[in-house]
Chain length 340, copies 4
Amino acid sequence: MALLKRHIRHHSLEEAEKRNDIGFGTLVTDVPTRLINRDGSFNVKRLSETFWGKLNLYNRLITISWQKFFLLVISYFFITNLIFALAYELIGIEYLHGIELTNEWTKFYDAYFFSAQTLTTVGYGRIAPHGFIASTVASIESLLGLLTFALATGLLYARFSRPEARILYSKNALIAPYLDITGLMFRIVNERQNQLIDVTVELVFTILEQTPEGKKVRKYYGLPLERNKVQFFPMNWTIVHPIIEESPVFGMTREDMLKGEAELFVLIKATEDTFNQSVHSRMSYHAKEMVWGAKYESMIWEKNGMITMDLSKLSDIREVPLTSEYIPDDKYEESEKQAD
Amino acid sequence: MALLKRHIRHHSLEEAEKRNDIGFGTLVTDVPTRLINRDGSFNVKRLSETFWGKLNLYNRLITISWQKFFLLVISYFFITNLIFALAYELIGIEYLHGIELTNEWTKFYDAYFFSAQTLTTVGYGRIAPHGFIASTVASIESLLGLLTFALATGLLYARFSRPEARILYSKNALIAPYLDITGLMFRIVNERQNQLIDVTVELVFTILEQTPEGKKVRKYYGLPLERNKVQFFPMNWTIVHPIIEESPVFGMTREDMLKGEAELFVLIKATEDTFNQSVHSRMSYHAKEMVWGAKYESMIWEKNGMITMDLSKLSDIREVPLTSEYIPDDKYEESEKQAD
Amino acid sequence: MALLKRHIRHHSLEEAEKRNDIGFGTLVTDVPTRLINRDGSFNVKRLSETFWGKLNLYNRLITISWQKFFLLVISYFFITNLIFALAYELIGIEYLHGIELTNEWTKFYDAYFFSAQTLTTVGYGRIAPHGFIASTVASIESLLGLLTFALATGLLYARFSRPEARILYSKNALIAPYLDITGLMFRIVNERQNQLIDVTVELVFTILEQTPEGKKVRKYYGLPLERNKVQFFPMNWTIVHPIIEESPVFGMTREDMLKGEAELFVLIKATEDTFNQSVHSRMSYHAKEMVWGAKYESMIWEKNGMITMDLSKLSDIREVPLTSEYIPDDKYEESEKQAD
Amino acid sequence: MALLKRHIRHHSLEEAEKRNDIGFGTLVTDVPTRLINRDGSFNVKRLSETFWGKLNLYNRLITISWQKFFLLVISYFFITNLIFALAYELIGIEYLHGIELTNEWTKFYDAYFFSAQTLTTVGYGRIAPHGFIASTVASIESLLGLLTFALATGLLYARFSRPEARILYSKNALIAPYLDITGLMFRIVNERQNQLIDVTVELVFTILEQTPEGKKVRKYYGLPLERNKVQFFPMNWTIVHPIIEESPVFGMTREDMLKGEAELFVLIKATEDTFNQSVHSRMSYHAKEMVWGAKYESMIWEKNGMITMDLSKLSDIREVPLTSEYIPDDKYEESEKQAD
């Protein structure tokens, strides 16, 4: 009896251990929404974060676009100068010797430019602070200038040297003929000219499944690949999951996938050549982004004994009929049984 | 006979090899104190360190809080300027042309501000050094300014880019029902918005045990987990050690743990997403921080088809009765025997 | 019948899985050209890249030679100053107080030097901007100066700290006697004085082969090595592929290799000692660069109890007869059969 | 016959593969000198290096002591200013307006300080360049100043952030009683307060051995350890190679080791806690630095419930008799046979 109990216990333990380790708990299994966005970010909203956690300053300064970054730098420069100009006005413009006293406007903009000359430490000296308070403010401003600049140096370096796999993914994943069977495939290419080496790919397929009790439960399946690693990646690479009978995708139609909110997670890891840093890239194809019965057009050809690759052809596809083997109507149940 | 000796020898050798590799020697096994603090630091005092080893300058400048760091920067700026101002006074204020000679106070603060203008290399030039000695000191100060600033740039970058897993741990570890048995568990969440990938957890349980001779010896046990790795960590994660009969925790009461100064070491390793750096986090739950018969409240729910997580609920627990299986009163000795 | 089909299917799947993972698809197998250049770059031309992808700014600034880098910095400095000088001319030279008004030439070069003093933030102040527009341009220039300089700091650091294995390869790969058989070998040495540790080598041999149908197909073979890893690399290292019967090179003549456009890819990985970074190096010997029947001269000797190594002897070879075992004329077919 | 030949061939191949991978070739096996110095550097002299390879600028600037580094910075500052001062003298001191024209000496040092103000970009402007040539030289100097400073920033950061395991080694390695046998041991401690985690140790023992033909050949043996990895390293660690019969050290006397120029290489790898960088440390104990029959004094004790460690006791030893088991006089040959 005790032995039996232990058996049951260990069995449910093993079951728990088998649950896929993608990092989404069982709780969210019935959320009828996309879990991972196309850019690889997760569809999770966080509440009760601390102020700094929410601001997430460093990460944002590193990951925003270059346009936004420079806009921010210029805004910071402009606003800081404005604040200090107002401070000098408040202290009394007469403490800035050399300032043009023609009218209020020239006074203000000369205070502003004095501030700019202090913040950048260019300090021409045509205008220079006199007296304790103005000099104190000016010394604080120059220190602030130096620290800001130190920060900007670090940020620029961090932005440039950040390890990033800029991989271009084909717009659609395809269910296409592959050898004499069918495959689930998508195509990638390195956007950059630097080399990626030891590129490995992992695929996880997730779909809402009906339990015998009628409950919908999200299941996760790792998909084995024809090849999950290449040593070099100088050209395009079509990543293929062969849909054999054991595949969880075997026999699925476009409607099945749409109904089950199916998603195909892609996780790519590689080593970037220039700095020998490990990089990665995440993507997700939703069922809506999968195409049945199409093949990628070739994007490589030979020209004057030179291998030539056209990146604009990455998502080019053409229709092809799917092999009848893929969904053997009369043998569906049979193959199902064998797959168990 | 020689063979026998060799046997004994090799047996004690194997015993030595089995000792747990946590890095605390056998010597400290009877210290009735916490070995690792809640923040992951070790409870070890070091004597006879060298001056620089003790000062540990770089590590401290990197790991102190931002408040302390900026206080230090400002103090450095203030004190350095003070020292150089005194130096210029000593050399003779008349060698700083342009200085306000109204009285001793204006002389001093103008020397001070000249120093500040030199240290930051803003150099307005309203006040400028004349003569060999004043010019020499000023040139040394400007070099010092540049070097300090170079250092500050590096420190700021190092502070920002330092790989750190900011993991929030639940206040308490729980002994709670888990499937149809009992589990030792705690809950974690990523404090930051950046993603952690390939998160792995290791647990070591340590307790003072009574040897047959009545000596207290500290023992270390690695605790197997329901799951010790997740690929992504977008939500909370409850880490569970299932308390099966083989577990060293099996049958232990709160009193046993307190008496034995039990501790649960947690070591988490992961890869941070933005810079693809490996990070880690260390923690320790003391017996006093473990709760018997409680479960974590859920901190995730669905709202408008969006997964929502409230970080403030991380340590929220509610009481639950422990399953009778955990300490089978009449079968305690029996299971003990089987566990050997 | 269904079973048979599945058999065929799985067989062709296994075939596909066996294809070598060098990263060149089957498409380019008949390109009669060198695939990897001697410097390790790939012979692939990319079309339809985006502007930034093509420019590849950061990578280029990091990897160009120091001469080019400094030329670029100086050109940038010169051209930027020129542009701003013209801007000040446009605004009106009278807004730069202190400028020498002798003639147009002195006016221009003083505007130019004012620009230089602003860009480097040296700001003597002999010449200083007056009025709103000139001051605005000057403040923009000083901000630009700071940002450029921040960038230069990062670039200089990146260039210096870039992990790079500077490995010198012998000019030729040799087919030489090795022990009592024959080996395919080449010799390497660390160009730098820093230590490389845990050095591992991988060799891939590729050649165009005639299929029974007369089609030429490029095949890839990993070559096993006498030793593919050393813990330290303080001296030279001759890397040897022993040409046993199982080797794809067994029995090949210089003519065979030239006809098949044979190439020997070398991929070396190591850990650099000073910064503990992992580094790698790629190389390729074309059939034209292989020598039959030669041995490397020793480049190490003892002198006054000191191990001495002459780097200039790295590629020094002397002729030696090849062992008759290498191509056993009358036993060729026999060994071929055994190799299968 | 062919089969036999192949057998011989493959046998010698296997022999070659068994050679230890420490990275010293067979050529240097009879050099009667220390191969690795106590600081972990190799005893190899390199000839015919290129100028830059010999200079090895970056590595040296990173690894020289802080005293030398700052001396170099100050020398650079002094000498560069001197050169530019001479240049301004050459151009004509009258082109530096504001210079003190009292005598040749004041002229020179004002030129010198003008140079310093330009190089550091402090640019007071009391002295300012006039005319094309002087202005050109000054603008070049300020650019040089910026670039030098950018470099200094990078170097300071690199020096600080360089991953380094500062491990203190006991002065001597000991042959001491260990459990009921004998062990070859040494003791290490972390010099710094930062934590090292996942510390692994590798030992290689090398000695000149007499071949049956009377030739001396250097042999390398990896020594298995009682424990070769600890997860944390908060205290001292005594690394022990148990000298069982299978050990190459078994039965060796101090005289044997001295005659054979025995060396014990130590390679330690770890992960540094603050930056999560992997670090390593190399050491070598020469036979002269090994002590027979001694034990380390404890360097850890408890005080007020606190674990206390005295770093100055690291190398403290006391004499102990060696167990008779170590060299069983009458059973030496017997154990030798068994060890084969």
